[in-house]
Each structure stands twice: as structure tokens, then as C-alpha cells.
Amino acid sequence: MRLLTVTLLFLLCHPLHAAEPPTLTVYTYSSFTVDWGPGPAIKAAFEAECECRLEYVATDDGVALLSRIRLEGKDAKADVVLGLDTNLIAEARATGLFAPHGVITESLPVPGGWSDAVFLPYDYGYFAFVYDSTVLTAPPGSLQALVDGPSEQKILIQDPRTSTPGLGLLLWIRKVFGDDAGTVWEKLAPRILTVSKGWSEAYGLFLKGEAPLVLSYTTSPAYHLIAEGEGKYAAAAFDEGHYLQIEVAAKLASSPNPELADRFLAFVLSQGFQTHIPTGNWMYPVVELESGLPDGFETLVSPAIALSFTPEEVARNRKEWVQEWLTALSR
């Protein structure tokens, strides 16, 4: 009798079980997964070839993503984490929760090349000051010019304690001016209209005309040009170069589906993933696109010099540099 029941149950369950494909869980930030982000198209493209289901779990942003992984530790349901950036790598590595990706990255056309065995780049961009060319006819041509500029011409920036671009500017100024960074911030202080919590506040204020310059990305004008047909926004090209932000994905050591996770990481560098990056995430793809970059991207500032610190340098100095920034701006 028991045997019969077991057999019946097995027969009942088995076909269902066989029809249920494995599920790959990707933790990422919400602007990746929303309808207008690159996530849905990438999900469809991957599911078409993997015979699996791809499921996103979305947090606020890259920082929240790392917090979430730390909170969940080894119990994390995620197979892959997608959306950390170069400044978070050292701290993410220190958790010991990630496994090598096994993908060859030497030939990737990422500025400065890529050799990290754990974190795999999937897109990149540069921080820049964006301006409205109908309001500002002579934008600053360098960080130095920005610092020396007239104090009645205001700029909008973000707080490095709460926002990724804010931290980017902090590192940018530190990279260009080294130990003079503190004095530079003091000099820049009167030009700063306000320091916002996140990118959205500052960019929103900029679009409302509160200040002629806002800290954003070199690719921001592409959104206005391509999605809105509005060509008046531009990024100011700076002689010293622009600070680079590379976004990365990684496999969790505790991944329930390690083979599938490996397949996804390989897929990240394929055309099926990368073609959705420029107009989905408004960043640069990390491989040459067969179709080329979308029309409009050729109008963007493309920095000759990409500036960056190593993740370890950032992790070592971040607190001290933020303190320096606080001291300079709290005067």
C-alpha cells in the first residue's frame, strides 16, 4: 500500500518536476530591472537560450545590494550579484562570499584593461558635469577651471556619504589634486548650490533650472537626445580626464546553481546582453557591439584620460577622504 502511494505520488510529481526549469536568481538594483531598464530584454534573451528561468531581486542601488549580501551571508538565495561598482569591490571581496568567474577578460575594451578574477565588468561610464548649452555658452574646460570659476555660477553635487556619483567626484578631485584636495574643496565650496542625498535630487533640480551645472555622467546627454529628442544638454569635457566607474557582476560561492551562474556570467559579455546596455542603463558596453553604438552616442564627450584609484586604495582611504571633504565644506 505504501509502495503504491509512493509510486503514485512519484508519478504525479515527476512530470511536473521535470517541466519545472531551474531558476537563476540575480540580485541587482531596481533601475536595471524596471520596464524601461535593460533587465527585461536581457531576461528574455537569456531565457531563450538557457532553458531556465531568470529571476531578479532588486534593491535600491549598488550600495544596498552589497548591504543585502552582507546581511544574508551564506544563506543568500542569489546565484549572481549584478550592479556593484569599482568602489565597492574591495569591501565585497572582503566578505569572502564571492567565487571566481572563470571568464577571460584580458581583451575587454574597458579603459585601463581588466584582470580581476572574481568581479566581471558589464558596463562603464565616466562622471562629468552636465550643463544646458542654451544657458551656459562657455562651460569650464577642466576641473581647475571649475574650481576657479565665478562663485555666482552654481553647481549641484551629491553627498559622497550617501551617493555613488558623490563619492566619484570626491575621488576625482583627490586623483587630480592629491593632497591639495582639501584646499580645492574649500575653494569650490562657494560655487556649490547644494549637496543632495542622491543623484535624482540633484539632477531634478538641474532640470528645473536651479543651477547651470550638475554632477552626472558623460552619457546623460544621450538620454535626452535619444529618448526625448532634446539636444541642448551636454557634458563638459575636462582636460585632466574624467573619473571612471565600472559596474561589475559576480557569482556567489554559495550559488545553488553554479553551472547556470557561470553560463550567465559568460552571457554578460555576449551581444545578447551588451546591446541592451547603452539605451537601457545609459552606460558604455564592455565589448564592441556588432551593431555599433546607437546613433547619438557619437556626440558624447569621450574622455582621452580615464582616471581611477584601485578598489583597495578607495577602501583604505575613503573614510579619511570623506572626513577631509566634511571639514572643508563645513567651514
Binding site: 524596471v34 531581486v57 533640480l205
Partner: protein
């Protein structure tokens, strides 16, 4: 004893929730270093600024709310009064970032005020970013709230008082001094503490309109410790610091307040004799105009920019309706839970206050219920997350967790709104009920409900509005399926979609207005406020 049980039960649950959250945080933290906090000069300055701006904001909001509430109480009939009162519930709903955009559209560099000034040939001035901006924003949020909380006072002025006033031919000034002020005074510390706590924990507004890191609140430091540094110990300490600062200040303010007066009869709105004179009339309408300008102009800017956006496309979006549904569900459930918990606390506190004469204990009970407000939702959420992770799948339960956190955030409002009328019911009807032998359900149905349905409606409406607009912990527990309207709004903003975000904000406002009006009408009965 039975009357003490509900409050004790609610307090136990609160203690359990908060305790679980903090113990979760402490378990994962690498140790506490209170000494390091004390030595941090910047932090000491932050604490100073936090208290300073919250005090100023509270004084300003309340100072303006008193004449405005009085004007609205005196002018019971003018076109659009009911709508205006509902609109006053809206600033609570507006996500901070939308409010900031609305305020900037009026007071910013290229805002309405500066454009009007330019029309008159005056050079545009920059006055928004700094303490001025913080105060403007806090008045925008809190003046309407304070007005709504103060307004019911006039209803509780006994009918006899008005007859007496008429017989004696008292002047408007005498009425204020002898009739209205004694009624208002006991309520002021209550409203002041609520506004104070809201300003104390204000975060994005202070950072964005404050002009830079010189204007920062403790909440920013908590956010930084939790998010960027992942220093759970420091976040916990800062949250405790915030809790202690607020508890001390609130206790001090409440100690200054007197207790509820015992009034012999039920309040009935009577026509008052001091409505005719022209200066009084002008002053009243000037006050009403002030609240119109300070509240409705920024809200109007939100509406205008919403209408200028791609309305049809956003409304056709499936995600918008799914989020709206979830937001509504969460709002209704959390407001019901908040009112339930609030009533529990208040049953006990009024019993303590009136029948047992333990006023201090009663106030302490209410204070505990209110202080929840100053524990940042992010701290509560993270603590919950750690505490619950070994027990349940946190993400499956995330809507429930959001409901609980939102209900906790609504509790202080319930206590403020329902406290005074519930005390009054006991004062006026306890003996009658006892002598007639009315108790249990009969008492609720025949005595309490008819007298309390209006404040219950108001507190439900306030909590629901608050919850609809709250980003809270949704972002922390978010998954692909769980998205509320404020979250959707933030996602739009993060994806450059300012136009779509503006429409979403307008949709959120409309929905909340309908929700607010609906709850007030269905639960509160006919409009009488």
C-alpha cells in the same frame, strides 16, 4: 484590570518588535564604541544642528498653525472649506523628493517667487538653500498637520461657554484668552512634540535644501553608517542617541503641559459672537490665505508638472496600477493596525489618567507609543531583517513587514488625534455608563463609537495617507513583485524619467486625496470638522 490589559499588550508587542530589531542589529555588529561617538566633534555639531533646526521648525510651524486653525474654526462656512481641509492632509503623503521639487518650483532660483519679483523689476535672490530652505520645507510639511490636529479643539468648547460668551458680550481677545487658550494649551505640547520629532528625523530635505554637509541631521549619519560603512554597531548607537535626545526633549515639553481639562458637557458648535467685525474677518482670511500659499502653491507645482508630463502613457502602464493596488492595500491594513494599537494604548492611558490618577504613568505610556517615530525605518527594517532571517523567508513576508513598520510610524499620529477625545468620553460618560450598567460591546456601540467615529476617521485617514506616501522599508525588502507607488516614483527618477515621475507623483496625490476623503466620510460620518 481589564482596562489596563489592551495597552499593556500593545506595549509588550512594541517592546518585542523594537527589541528584536535592536538585538538583531547588535548581534551582527562588530561591537559598540560609544567613546568614539562622543569624541567625534563633527557629530556633536550635527546633534546641535539637528536640535536647533527642529526647534525652529516646530516654533514656526506651530506659531503659524495657531492663528490659521483659529481662523478656520471661526469661519465655518466659505466655499471650498471642506476641500481645503482635505488638501491639508496631502503634504504628509508627498514623498520628500517630490515636495522638494514642488518647493523649488515656487521658491527656487527660477521659481515662481523670483519670477514674480523679476516681473516687478527686482533682482532674483537666492534664499532657499540653507536654514531658510529647511524651514520653508518643514513648514510646508508640518503647518497643515498642526492645523488639522488643533482644529478639533474648537469643537470641544462646551455649548454653555459660547452662550456665556454671548451673554457677557466678550470681545474676540477675551474669548481667546478665557475660552480658547485654556482648551488649546494642554494640546500644544502634544502637537509640538509630534512636529518636533518629524523635523528632528528629517533627512533628505535637510540635506538637499540645507545647502551642504554643514546642515546635517543625525539621521544622515545613521543612513551613512548603515548603508555605506555597514557599521551596524554605529548605526545602532546613533539610533539610540536620537531616541534619547528626543525622549529627553519630549519629556521636558510634556512636563510643561497641563493635563486635559474636565469639561462638563458635550461640545456643540455654536455660533460665536465675534465674527462680524471687519479687522477680524480680514485677519482670518489673511491666515487662510497664508496656509493656501504655503501648502497649496508647492502642491500646485506638483500638479502642474504632472499635467505637463506624458499622462496617458503613464496611466496606461500596468506597473502603475499594480503598485497602486499594493500601496492601497498596505495603507488600509497599516492604518487599521495603527488605530487598533493606538486605541489599545489609549484605553490604558485614559484609565490610568482618570480613574487611577496616575497621570505621569499615563503620559509615559503615550510617550513610548510616540517615540517609535524617531527610530529610522531603515534601522527598524534592517534589524527586523536580521532578526527574522533565521526564522522565515523575509522576502515572502515583506508586504507584512512593510505593513507593520508603517503601522508603527502611524501610531504617534493616532495617539495625538484620538487621545483627547477618548479621554473626554471617559470623563463625561464613565459614571453614566456605570450607573446605567452599560458595558462591553454595548458601550462601544452606543457611547464610544458615535462620539469617536470622527477622530477615528481622521486618524485612519492620516495614517493611510502617511503610509501611501512612505518609501519606508519597501526599498530594503524590495523584490521584483513588490513595488509601491513611491518606490515606482523613485525608480522613474533614477531612470531619467522626470516627466513620468511627475505624472506618477500627481497620481499618488490624487489617490491619497480620494483615500483621505473616502475614509473620513465613510468612517467619520458627515463632515463636521
Amino acid at each position: 484590570m481589564r482596562r489596563l490589559a489592551p495597552g499593556v499588550l500593545v506595549m509588550a508587542v512594541l517592546a518585542l518588535i523594537v527589541g528584536a530589531a535592536f538585538s538583531g542589529l547588535l548581534r551582527e555588529s562588530s561591537g559598540l564604541e560609544p567613546g568614539a561617538l562622543w569624541d567625534d566633534i563633527y557629530l556633536r555639531r550635527v546633534v546641535g544642528f539637528t536640535v536647533w533646526q527642529a526647534l525652529l521648525s516646530t516654533l514656526l510651524s506651530l506659531g503659524l498653525a495657531l492663528p490659521v486653525a483659529r481662523a478656520l474654526a471661526r469661519r465655518q462656512r466659505f466655499p471650498g472649506r471642506t476641500l481645503l481641509l482635505r488638501l491639508l492632509g496631502l503634504p504628509l503623503v508627498v514623498p520628500t523628493i517630490v515636495a522638494v521639487f514642488g518647493i523649488v518650483a515656487i521658491y527656487g532660483q527660477t521659481g515662481l517667487m523670483n519670477r514674480l519679483a523679476a516681473g516687478l523689476g527686482i533682482e532674483p535672490v537666492q534664499y532657499l538653500y540653507g536654514l531658510g530652505g529647511i524651514l520653508i520645507a518643514h513648514v510646508f510639511f508640518n503647518l497643515p498637520l498642526a492645523v488639522r490636529l488643533l482644529l478639533p479643539v474648537w469643537q470641544s468648547v462646551p455649548g454653555e461657554s459660547w452662550r456665556l460668551v454671548a451673554q457677557l458680550g466678550m470681545s474676540s481677545r477675551d474669548i481667546l484668552r478665557l475660552v480658547e487658550w485654556p482648551m488649546l494649551r494642554p494640546l500644544l505640547p502634544q502637537v509640538a512634540t509630534l512636529v518636533f520629532m518629524l523635523c528632528f528625523t528629517s533627512f533628505a530635505v535637510v540635506l538637499t535644501l540645507g545647502g551642504g554637509p554643514a546642515s546635517t541631521t543625525i539621521e544622515v549619519a545613521i543612513y551613512q553608517a548603515l548603508r555605506f560603512d555597514f557599521d551596524l554597531g554605529k548605526a545602532t548607537l546613533l539610533a539610540l542617541l536620537q531616541l534619547i535626545c528626543c525622549a529627553l526633549l519630549v519629556a521636558a515639553v510634556q512636563a510643561m503641559g497641563k493635563h486635559y481639562p474636565v469639561d462638563p458637557t458635550e461640545g456643540r458648535v455654536q455660533s460665536r459672537p465675534d465674527l462680524g467685525d471687519v479687522p477680524g474677518r480680514l485677519f482670518d482670511f489673511a491666515c487662510i490665505a497664508l496656509v493656501l500659499v504655503s501648502t497649496l502653491l508647492p502642491l500646485g507645482a506638483v500638479v502642474t508638472s504632472g499635467l505637463a508630463g506624458p499622462v496617458a502613457e503613464v496611466l496606461a502602464d500596468r506597473q502603475l496600477w499594480a503598485s497602486a493596488e499594493l500601496s492601497l492595500g498596505i495603507a488600509l491594513m497599516s492604518s487599521a493596525l495603527a488605530v487598533l494599537a493606538g486605541v489599545g494604548i489609549l484605553i490604558t492611558s485614559r484609565e490610568l489618567r482618570i480613574n487611577r490618577r496616575r497621570t505621569g504613568l499615563a503620559e509615559a505610556t503615550e510617550l513610548c507609543g510616540s517615540l517609535i517615530l524617531v527610530i529610522p525605518p531603515l534601522v527598524l527594517g534592517t534589524g527586523f531583517f536580521i532578526a527574522l532571517r533565521p526564522l522565515v523567508d523575509v522576502f515572502t513576508w515583506s508586504p507584512l513587514l512593510i505593513v507593520i513598520v508603517n503601522a508603527l510610524m502611524g501610531l504617534p499620529y493616532v495617539i495625538r488625534v484620538l487621545g483627547p477625545p477618548m479621554t473626554r468620553v471617559t470623563q463625561q460618560h464613565d459614571r453614566l455608563c456605570a450607573s446605567l450598567g452599560i458595558g462591553g460591546w454595548d458601550r462601544v456601540r452606543m457611547v464610544e463609537w458615535p462620539l469617536l467615529r470622527q477622530p477615528v476617521g481622521l486618524s485612519l485617514a492620516l495614517c493611510a495617507a502617511l503610509s501611501t506616501g512612505d518609501l519606508g522599508v519597501v526599498a530594503l525588502f524590495g523584490s521584483q513583485d513588490v513595488s509601491t507607488l513611491p518606490l515606482l516614483l523613485y525608480q522613474r527618477l533614477a531612470g531619467y524619467q522626470m516627466g513620468e515621475a511627475a505624472v506618477t507623483a500627481l497620481f499618488l496625490l490624487t489617490l491619497s486625496l480620494m483615500l483621505f476623503g473616502g475614509i473620513e466620510r465613510v468612517i467619520g460620518g458627515r463632515a463636521r470638522a
